[in-house]
């Protein structure tokens, strides 16, 4: 176990898990390198803009229905508030949740605050926000500025916790701490475990399902009822009260290995709640592993096997039919590592060949010190040793790869990157819904969506004809790893 809950802050992924953002090679070479103290991270001599880990940390926590985020930063850092404010309202409305106690505010640090320190201002903002919204918890988001000048967030949190009687949890997501935005998830979960989760009073039949938006809430609730358990989809649209009882749950599982590792391992370490290590529920092997491992923990192997058999009977013939039309298609995939590996496996189940895979970072291990199951599965089962790059969403590299490979289709998880492939005339699917490939049924629907995309190409082709890309011919003639420094820098 490498989750250190005694510290005020989570360690970043680079040092905790040996994670990297710079690599170019193949699937199995990356695996080989991971086994010998590596992989070595390759620095870039040129880098496009990427994402700050604060966006992950505070974006995620802002979806808690009765907590307030106070970002202690200049106002520009609080851009995340713009992207989440609509989504939080819409999601809460879909499941009839009152999120009037939630808010996302910023202390708007200015030059004088930087020089003199601004913890008193932070204190005033939290007291005011407590008066206005009466939240059940406040998360203080750190920033580069508050970090550089050494603002004592822990003391403010402790004092205000005593004064206001609610958890005040600093999240140490200073931007300079890490190049891997997923370190922000860890920072948020560290704060939740240490400040929100309470020791268990009893054991419940709840399974913590770590995910983003709970899209398959209804379906999973029905499935789990067959095993005598209830899912709690965390942390979006959960209450502070619900989060405080995560320690009472019977198990924790995740739809994303990247997202889940810190909270899953942390709850296991602190409160003995088993964290289910498995493939994520994408496609056939995924759902079999995901529910199979849950069945073992719950001692419900028989019930799980029955469910899987029913699904298989219902959908496998249809999947095999669709597979005939998809087999031989060549694809490029560009996603965060966990969704990348799990979606790749599902695509291979449909007979699609991955030619190039771009992952937005790479964890050689999770917090159990073992390689991610989904990565290990591909190393052992992928029919081809496809090319792989690791970048923190360097769009220039992605476009170079797409332009060189010219695949039949591109798979993304971020709306912004899908459209870039389309500008090159390559059909693309954005798997924004994390449950888009959930189990047998999801795989069948996904197969149809792919077929639809590669068949109906006119929009993509017309778009490509009318778009002038910002990249030069020179760039498209270079290798995509052109900007990776040749000397290797070990940041493990």
């Amino acid at each position: 176990m490498v989750v250190n809950l005694k510290s005020h802050q989570s360690e970043n992924r680079e040092s905790r898990l040996g994670s990297i953002t710079g690599y170019n090679g193949t699937l199995r070479d990356l695996h080989t390198q991971s086994g010998c103290g590596g992989p070595q991270n390759k620095e870039r001599c040129f880098s496009q803009a990427s994402l700050c880990n604060a966006a992950c940390a505070l974006g995620l926590t802002s979806f808690i229905v009765d907590a307030v985020i106070v970002q202690h930063s200049p106002s520009g850092c609080a851009v995340t508030a713009m992207t989440v404010s609509n989504a939080t309202d819409q999601l809460a409305a879909t499941i009839n949740l009152d999120n009037s106690k939630s808010a996302y505010v910023c202390t708007d640090m200015n030059e004088a605050d930087t020089v003199f320190g601004a913890t008193e201002n932070l204190r005033k903002v939290i007291i005011e926000i407590h008066k206005r919204y009466q939240p059940k918890a406040v998360f203080i988001g750190a920033s580069c500025v508050s970090g550089v000048i050494g603002e004592d967030l822990e003391s403010i949190a402790r004092e205000l916790h005593e004064e206001l009687g609610i958890p005040i949890a600093p999240i140490h997501c200073e931007g300079f701490r890490t190049k891997i935005w997923a370190s922000g998830f860890d920072a948020a979960f560290h704060a939740i475990i240490n400040h929100i989760v309470k020791p268990p009073q009893k054991k419940t039949n709840i399974v913590n399902v770590i995910n983003f938006f709970g899209g398959a809430r209804k379906e999973i609730t029905e499935i789990f009822s067959r095993f005598g358990v209830e899912p709690l989809f965390i942390i979006t649209n959960t209450t502070v009260e619900q989060l405080s009882k995560l320690s009472e749950s019977v198990a924790t599982m995740s739809t994303c290995g990247t997202l889940g590792t810190y909270l899953g391992s942390g709850l296991e370490e602190a409160y003995g709640v088993p964290y289910i290590r498995s493939l994520q529920p994408h496609g056939m092997a995924g759902i079999e592993s995901w529910l199979g491992e849950l069945g073992k923990v719950l001692h419900k192997e028989k019930e799980v096997a029955e469910y899987l058999a029913e699904e298989k009977e219902k959908y496998l013939p249809k999947i095999l039919e669709a597979k005939k039309k998809l087999t031989g298609l060549k694809a490029v995939i560009g996603m965060g590592p966990a969704f990348n590996f799990n979606t790749t496996r599902a695509l291979q189940e449909l007979g699609i060949e991955i030619e190039y895979s771009a992952a937005w970072h790479f964890d050689k291990q999770y917090d159990d010190s073992k390689a991610p199951n989904a990565f290990q599965y591909l190393v052992e089962n992928s029919p081809n040793n496809y090319k792989m790059s690791v970048s923190d969403l360097q769009n220039n590299e992605l476009l170079n790869i797409l332009n060189t490979v010219k695949p039949d289709i591109f798979f993304a998880r971020h709306t912004g990157s899908a459209v870039w492939a389309m500008k090159l005339g390559i059909p693309a699917i954005c798997l924004y819904d994390e449950y888009a490939v959930f189990g047998y049924k999801g795989l069948y629907n996904f197969a149809n969506a792919i077929l639809d995309s590669v068949t109906n190409r006119s929009f993509t082709e017309n778009l490509a004809k009318r778009v002038k890309l910002p990249y030069t011919d020179w760039w498209f003639k270079q290798n995509s790893d052109y900007f990776l420094k040749k000397e290797e820098v070990n940041n493990a």
Partner: protein, 292 residues
């Protein structure tokens, strides 16, 4: 008529080495020589100009920043002994905020206001806190704010270490229009070996001693009255030393890039002097360092 060029000088040195004392006496001496001088204290303690103002504190530039981003000159510029202008950058309370950023902000605020030009100054003398520990403390030597840097150093190793660090800072900015080194003001030089140590250090780093200032009880007596030596004891021998320093600095025109010692060189250099001093203490006569 061409606009008069204000001569801007930054004085650095380890904390407690007598930097503010030396700077204030230099300011006073330049003023008595007929120049219009401003002393700009760059230390959050904001006590650089105390002895020019009868031991009193003045409101700081950063105090005014709390109210507004535009500095009103009358709020931050105070006159002291013989009409010298006194400014204190100010800064955060100990343990909070960022003093380095404070110095950057304070200097920029004053620059923006074109206050130096309006006051028709001959000299601005920055008295900068301690070591060049971060970017803020390098502000006066960056971006052509000061042209000449002098460092106050005694013969103590830690003072020399701080001076050497300053030389590194100057060297770093020397190619981008930063200030260059005028020389070392050797302070508290009484023992014969102290002069030898400083002389050796400036030789190693290819700079010069601009003046030797002996330790003197007159300075202490003056400071206890809240005054510079120039004000409290203008006819004393020590006052003449400061006047000589002022004359040399007024005549100084060409500063240079120093050659700081690297970590190992500095350690070896210190070890050599450690041996020499031990030999001196035990009566071994081995060099001119014995002062014989």
């Amino acid at each position: 008529m061409a606009e008069k060029k204000v001569k801007q000088i930054a004085i650095y040195g380890k904390g407690g080495i007598g930097k503010s004392t030396t700077t204030s006496n230099l300011t006073a001496a330049l003023s008595l020589a007929g120049y219009k001088v401003m002393q700009f204290g760059c230390d959050p303690k904001s006590d650089s100009t105390n002895t020019l103002r009868g031991g009193t504190y003045i409101p700081t530039v950063l105090d005014s920043l709390r109210e507004s981003t535009i500095v009103k000159p009358h709020e931050v510029i105070y006159t002291g002994f013989n009409g010298v202008y006194c400014v204190e950058a100010g800064g955060p309370a100990p343990g909070v905020g960022c003093a380095g950023r404070g110095i950057i902000t304070a200097v920029e605020l004053l620059k923006k206001g074109r206050i130096f030009e309006e006051l028709d100054l001959d000299y601005v003398i920055y008295d900068v806190l301690g070591d060049v520990v971060c970017g803020g403390f390098a502000m006066p030597i960056r971006e052509g704010i000061a042209e000449h840097v002098f460092t106050v150093s005694s013969a103590d190793f830690m003072a020399v270490y701080a001076a050497n660090n300053l030389f590194k800072g100057i060297q770093k900015y020397s190619n981008s229009g930063g200030a260059l080194l005028g020389g070392v003001i050797a302070n508290s030089i009484n023992a014969p070996y102290a002069k030898d140590i400083i002389d050796d250090f400036v030789a190693q780093t290819q700079t010069q001693v601009i003046e030797y200032i002996p330790r003197s009880v007159t300075v202490t007596q003056s400071e206890l009255q809240g005054k510079t030596t120039l004000e409290a004891a203008p006819n004393s021998a020590q006052a003449q030393v400061y006047k000589r320093l002022a004359e040399k600095i007024a005549a100084h025109t060409q500063s240079k890039t120093p050659k700081p010692l690297d970590v190992k060189e500095l350690r070896d250099w210190a070890a050599k002097w450690g041996d020499n001093l031990l030999a001196l203490e035990t009566g071994e006569i081995r060099s001119e360092a014995a002062g014989i």
